[in-house]
Symmetry: C2
Subunit: 137 residues, 2 copies
């Protein structure tokens, strides 16, 4: 894969935050350094970077995907109020894939565990307001 500063900026934008940004959020962030970048380029490179194993994609509802700069095994929590995705410190089970594969005959490459509920901030706001998802959160 050939170098491009667009792709480097996109990778950095996802890696330099813990907010698991959406494609649109990455686009907004990268435009600070490369004002002329296009949204299509962001999508194209996010996809390439996921395929190359540099990023992880987190599937979301309604076609909104989020991206995770950390490819190490870890689990997520998704807030049903604000949509934010947080990392969970639950220990990652490295043996699980192999155990299930042996029992089922499926070829298993990875697994993902996601919790859902209400984050502490949205609990404090008693669910009345929808809180934002700042890129730097």
């Amino acid at each position: 894969m050939r170098y491009s500063r667009q792709r480097e900026a996109i990778l950095a934008a996802v890696r330099n935050t813990t907010s698991h940004p959406t494609a649109d959020s990455v686009y907004a962030h990268v435009r600070n350094s490369i004002p002329g970048i296009s949204l299509g380029t962001v999508y194209r490179n996010l996809r390439l970077l996921v395929e190359a194993g540099e990023l992880r994609a987190l599937e979301g509802p309604g076609g909104v995907n989020r991206y995770d700069g950390c490819t190490n095994g870890h689990y997520h929590f998704r807030c049903d109020v604000c949509g934010r995705v947080l990392d969970i410190d639950e220990p990652f089970d490295v043996d699980l894939d192999g155990e299930v594969a042996a029992r089922t005959g499926l070829e298993i490459r990875c697994h993902s565990l996601e919790f859902r509920g209400v984050c502490t901030e949205c609990q404090a706001q008693s669910g009345a307001r929808i809180c934002g998802v700042p890129h730097e959160a």
Copy 2:
């Protein structure tokens, strides 16, 4: 929630299969018994049924969601070749939500565990062809 035969047929279509169908697949199936039903109605009722706890929604990539007629706790496997979703017999951990909630302060309502890889059928086809996802599979 008031009765309608459209909603009943939609619920039955998801419940009477193990294929975790998409909205479009449900639409195709329900049209056999109610030819005049509209896709909007299918989406509207799938959403209502999920909110009512009658069905589970499985988030997917690229905006395609799937639905699960079984609301008991169980885990899934998604084939990266054909997109099919299968149930996994891994024992469901009912205490996990409470444990993580106690440790993190998050309000946790549920969790989902999904494995990814290649299903036995796609392994047999050596990944060359994309296999279909029949509603009755």
